[in-house]
Amino acid sequence: MKKLYFFRLGEQKGTLIAFLVGLTVFSCIMAWSYEAFSDDSGFLTQMFSQFEDLMQAFVGVGFSLDEMAASYFGMTWRHPLVLFLIMGFGISRSVGITREIQSGTGDLLFTLPLKRYLVIFTEFMATVTGLFLINLLLVIAVIVWSLVFGIEDIPGFYGFLWAFLISFYLHVMFAALALAIACLSKTTSQASAWTISIIAIFYVTDFLASLQPQLEFLQPFTLFYQYQVPEALAGNALWTGSLIYIGLTLTFLGTSFFLIQRRDL
């Protein structure tokens, strides 16, 4: 197991370097623009007030004009580009199992002296490690750039810790969902299409439900509802969201184990 874990981890080097560059640049832009537009001119305050509903839908639960820094930096985590990139990493790694089975590399992998569920668990743990590092990188980049630009009202340690945790749990959960779908799918494109469609439906539903009160009842089921980064950055513990994400991760993982043991390779 250990050998397979490190073998898989080694494959992520290039991707992690790309994330390091990308997230550093992105968080630099975010920190700089906060510093530049949250001054006395009140540009950010005006924007947030004018488009309050839209900003709330975009940034998620916990958006508040009173917690400007937490709401603003929440955008970093909830920005579609960041979500897409980090989720894309987790999903592509998870559906890699189908790719292996489809392309034939899985033949040698699944004839190692390991039970099938241990093979996919090991691969999943390598993905989780990658997601851990990416999320950690994002937090560090935001903190470093905030200090570089001398931002005074940046969130505190617990704020960043909970933002990191909730983001990490969310992405791990989606990676586990992708793994379960991959264990059920015959082709990589099928697995990717199903996973991306489900997540896109959740995201759009969450967004629309934030704007339309009559759809509000759907929001708790979207899995994005618990992704309350501004709440976290404001220093609030997100136990419920974390437990939901961990519970779903374990459920998806258990389903993956069940499916991989029974399928033909």
């Binding site: 494959e11 034939g104 033949d107 004839t111 190692l112 390991l114 039970k115 033909d264």
Partner: protein, 301 residues
């Protein structure tokens, strides 16, 4: 007990294709050839034996264990495998892949150097990324992966695919050496010459069913001969069938046909029928024996 054993092994895919009632046993020290046309069920059988596919019914034992059971999974340390459609992690160097598979088993690769030497695979080649390899080089790397830990048993699905004829001969010698050192080979092939050169025992599979299981020597003995001669008085086709001939063609007194079985008995019977002239008898290929197993149903169709 055989090192590989299948009893009434059946695997049916949702499409209705598959293999049915496969009974076979491979003894230690054999090079067992699994012969069949494309789509006959060779790969399916191997994949069930390796635990990659679940059988629909029947019993399978590899090194005495169920390949999907706990002990069977542990026994994989003593098994090598070369897939038919070999796919390798292209981003890695050859050496990294060899080390990964070796470490995932027992961490040792006592046979690596010998296999590399036999396949003319250099250390320089190992330091290249696999995406830079030609098809033949990838196949060689697959062979090294399968054999480097000197397993007790190795499954090879068409092992010489993509290799040039000289290297093919090296592979045959390598397999013989490996078996001489206590190993056992279960290899599928549709190359009859290959089976004849290297295997001791052979199973022939047609449309998912085993149609023959015998020693290669026996199969070779039953080769078909092409015969040509004249006989006076001129025989009827019925006379020629009585002496064991088939596919008879008579043209201006010259008789052409095929003969399966013992030529000695044929000649004796033929001489009883009259005077034989201009006899030529050419030993047929093993391919003709193989086709014998395929012909009856094709003719019926």
């Amino acid at each position: 007990m055989g090192i590989v054993k299948a009893e009434k092994l059946t695997k049916v895919y949702p499409s209705g294709d598959g293999v049915w009632d496969i009974d076979l046993e491979v003894q230690e020290g054999q090079i067992f050839g699994f012969l069949g046309a494309n789509g006959a069920g060779k790969t399916t059988t191997i994949r069930v034996l390796l635990g990659l596919l679940h059988s629909t019914s029947g019993k399978v034992r590899v090194l005495g264990e169920d390949p999907l059971g706990k002990k069977g999974i542990e026994k994989r340390r003593e098994i090598g495998y070369l897939p038919g459609e070999l796919a390798l992690y292209e981003k890695h160097k050859g050496i990294d892949l060899l080390d990964f598979y070796a470490k995932s088993l027992d961490g040792k690769a006592p046979y690596r150097e010998e296999v590399m030497k036999a396949l003319s695979f250099s250390g320089k080649d190992l330091n290249k990324k696999i995406r830079e390899y030609s098809r033949g080089m990838k196949q060689k790397l697959g062979l090294i992966i399968a054999l480097q830990h000197k397993p007790q048993l190795v499954f090879m699905d068409e092992p010489t695919t993509g290799l040039d004829p000289l290297i093919q001969l090296e592979v045959y010698q390598l397999l013989k050496n490996y078996v001489g050192g206590g190993g056992t080979v279960f290899m599928s092939s549709h190359n009859l010459g290959e089976v004849e050169k290297v295997c001791n025992r052979v199973a022939i599979i047609r449309k998912g069913k085993l149609v023959a299981l015998e020693d290669v020597e026996e199969l070779v003995r039953r080769r078909v001969y092409s015969v040509q001669f004249s006989l006076s008085p001129e025989p009827t086709e019925k006379d020629l069938r009585e002496v064991g001939m088939r596919e008879i063609k008579i043209d201006h007194g010259v008789i052409n046909g095929k003969l399966a079985g013992d030529p000695d008995a044929f000649l004796r019977k033929l001489l009883d029928k009259g005077k034989v002239q201009d006899l030529s008898c050419t030993r047929g290929k093993l391919e003709d024996v193989f086709l014998e197993y395929y012909r009856p149903e094709e003719e019926a169709e």
